[in-house]
């Protein structure tokens, strides 16, 4: 089935060049403070949640105001994209700090028992967020391969067994999201290009997650060595690949020139690691370059990656400039 037909069957109608986001938005100052107070025991979970809902509502209103088509909740209630699921699933125990670079550390989870899905992990938030808007809200999950690669494993035989067990668990979450009404679901696999020899495992595990399910699936992959996994990576069974095109634009376009991109593409067109707000002309030129190799009806647009590392102001400005450029591009296409 063609990807656009899948959307039509799901009853989702979208304009040309649908606008969306990768997932995370920066947390406003009051959420950062509230989280710190919650950790110290000065704030109850309920009080924290009320503030997280307020921040979520603010981000949803902002997305609606600037004309984003497929919304995200902004992940005001999440920290790390793997640790969030590790804390919710049975079978993980939290580990201590591991350094990623310079003076930056993260907590790497440890699998110490069979991973078990006991209850929905993201459905309550998805429902809350969807109730705040008429526009479609994306369900947001981390993929089994990335959870496996970013965790220690003390239980399963090897990486494959770990990944396939996690795939079963993530499928249950996808089913729960679909039952709740989600039609667009993104499953992030940023670790996917690190070991090209394991790409078949990424594909196999994603197949367990998505096979036969009535939803339009995205996967987000970033900062990878795409040359090593293209075009094989397009066999990952999802309809839409959300890729950073501003950071590794030339590499990717060269890949697509050699072998045309067979699925829908959400092109990230602003860098999430710079303070500087891109000029409209820069983004327009970037989109035109992409449209030289990707048919218009296959193209969606968003930022390179999650915006949580930027300030609220920077994130909003980057989203606004994307929206402005895409709207004017739509006009020139309808003429």
């Amino acid at each position: 089935m063609h990807t656009q037909d899948k959307l039509k069957n799901l009853g989702v109608e979208l304009p040309l060049f649908p606008l969306t986001s990768v997932g995370s938005f920066p947390k406003p100052e009051y959420i950062k403070k509230a989280r710190a107070r919650f950790v110290k025991g000065e704030l109850t979970r309920k009080e924290l949640e009320t503030l997280e809902e307020k921040a979520t509502r603010e981000w949803i209103e902002f997305q609606e105001n600037i004309g984003i088509d497929v919304l995200v909740d902004g992940e005001m209630y999440r920290g790390d994209m793997v640790a969030y699921f590790a804390e919710e699933l049975k079978g993980f125990s939290q580990s201590s700090f591991v350094r990623s670079y310079g003076n930056r550390y993260y907590r790497k989870p440890v699998i110490t028992a069979p991973v078990v899905w006991e209850k929905p992990m993201t459905v309550d938030w998805w429902k809350k967020a969807q109730a705040m808007t008429q526009k479609p809200m994306k369900g947001m999950l981390t993929g089994p391969y990335t959870i496996m690669d970013w965790s220690f494993n003390e239980y399963y035989k090897d990486r494959e067994a770990t990944c396939m067990a996690l795939a079963q668990v993530i499928r249950k979450e996808v089913e729960a999201l679909i039952s709740a009404g989600a039609k667009l679901i993104q499953i992030d696999e940023p670790a996917c290009s690190v070991r090209p020899s394991e790409l078949p495992l990424v594909i196999q595990s994603m197949n367990v997650v998505t096979e036969g399910l009535p939803a339009y699936f995205f996967t987000h992959i970033c900062y990878g060595d795409f040359e090593k996994i293209y075009p094989e990576m397009t066999e990952i069974p999802v309809e839409n690949f959300d890729l950073e095109m501003s950071n590794s634009e030339n590499d990717l376009l060269n890949c697509f020139k050699k072998r045309s991109f067979p699925k829908d593409l959400t092109a990230g067109i602003v860098d999430v690691h710079t303070h500087e707000i891109e000029a409209e002309s820069t983004l327009k030129a970037r989109l035109e370059q992409i449209l030289d190799v990707i048919p218009a009806r296959q193209l969606w647009v968003d930022p390179d990656c999650g915006l949580k590392t930027r300030t609220v102001e920077e994130a909003k400005k980057k989203l606004e400039v994307i929206a402005t450029v895409v709207k004017s591009l739509r006009k020139s296409y309808s003429n």
Partner: protein
């Protein structure tokens, strides 16, 4: 064969408690200009001393300084060389750890010794063990650098220039009385070297090693296909990552070893603790094939910084237990 236990290279800089967080905290305060360089150095030294103490508590025969001052294995060596600029972050092999990529901007020269002070500190604070200093090898450094100077056309030429300055460094380290100097070359798995050329490179590198033993260590890849070639290189100890090489032990049982070996039996990338009996059994099975006058060092597959500190300590303890159980 004789068995000894050795720390691989780096050691986690922070742990779980506030006290164990002091280095992270010190860098944080230093960035905000709230403490002086002198105060940061003091904390670095305390943490280095603690890393050495943990290894001595586990009665390791070969001790490092835990590479506590290193930000990453590439920029730490390259940042003090002339003709090199340090650039943006890149993923370090298939780990979730990042290094800063060097850019070669002109002729590479060593202005002063790179690791002399770290080595002197290690010597001063090691009570019993033999001392080992780690250097990332010229091949790996060259493969991971960007060249933007007409001074060198290929990464081979960069590797040759680096071998020259690292040979000078090795001489200084050997002269200072360091027992072991380990050259890390995981880069062999990124791009296969030309072995004949590499042999010349290592001859130059080791030409002034004095009494020090030179280790050549690879990790993050299956070393079995390279094993015969590595045996021919002019180094004293071959360090290999057993966790990536399903057939390596069979190969050693078949081919033996003309050199001392450092076998990375314990997985430095995963918290799971290996079975003591199984490791000892494997070691015993090598006994007849490794010459009597050769030493086998039991160690981890790579440095310990990919593990949380409490788990790293458990791996060190396990090395001690293996050594014990083997000798009994």
């Amino acid at each position: 064969m004789k068995l000894k236990s050795a720390n691989h290279s780096h050691y986690p800089k922070i742990g779980e408690t506030d006290e164990q967080h002091k280095l992270r905290q010190a860098y944080h305060l230093f960035d905000r200009k709230k403490i002086s360089t002198f105060q940061v150095v003091k904390v670095q030294q305390d943490v280095t001393r603690e890393a050495i103490e943990e290894q001595e508590k586990a009665h390791l025969d070969v001790v490092t300084d835990g590479l506590i001052l290193w930000n990453d294995p590439i920029s730490h060596i390259m940042k003090n060389l002339e003709g090199v600029k340090i650039g943006g972050l890149l993923r370090f092999f298939d780990t979730n750890f990042y290094f800063r990529q060097p850019e070669i901007t002109g002729p590479i020269l060593r202005k002063s010794s790179l690791l002399k002070e770290e080595a002197a500190f290690l010597k001063r604070h090691t009570a019993k063990g033999e001392t080992k200093v780690v250097l990332t090898g010229p091949y790996t450094l060259a493969v991971l650098s960007k060249i933007s100077t007409p001074a060198y056309k290929t990464s081979r030429e960069v590797a040759q220039a680096l071998a020259q300055v690292l040979a000078e460094e090795i001489k200084d380290l050997a002269d200072s009385g360091i027992n072991h100097i380990q050259i890390d070359e995981p880069g062999f798995f990124l791009q296969r070297p030309d072995w004949k050329w590499l042999s010349g490179l290592f001859e130059k590198l080791c030409s002034q090693k004095g009494k020090a033993k030179i280790w050549l260590t690879t990790y993050f890849g299956d070393v079995a296909p390279l094993y015969a070639r590595l045996q021919e290189l002019p180094v004293d100890v071959l360090g290999v990552d057993v966790t990536y090489s399903p057939t390596l032990l069979d190969l050693i049982r078949k081919e033996g070893s003309q050199k001392d070996l450092a076998l990375g039996f314990l997985d430095g990338r995963n918290t799971k603790l290996e079975n003591l009996k199984e490791v000892v059994h494997e070691l015993k099975s090598l006994e007849k094939k490794v010459a009597q006058d050769k030493t086998v060092y039991v160690t981890t597959s790579c440095g310990l910084e990919y593990l949380p500190q409490d788990k790293a300590i458990k791996k060190l303890k396990l090395l001690e237990e293996i050594n014990h159980a083997y000798s009994r």
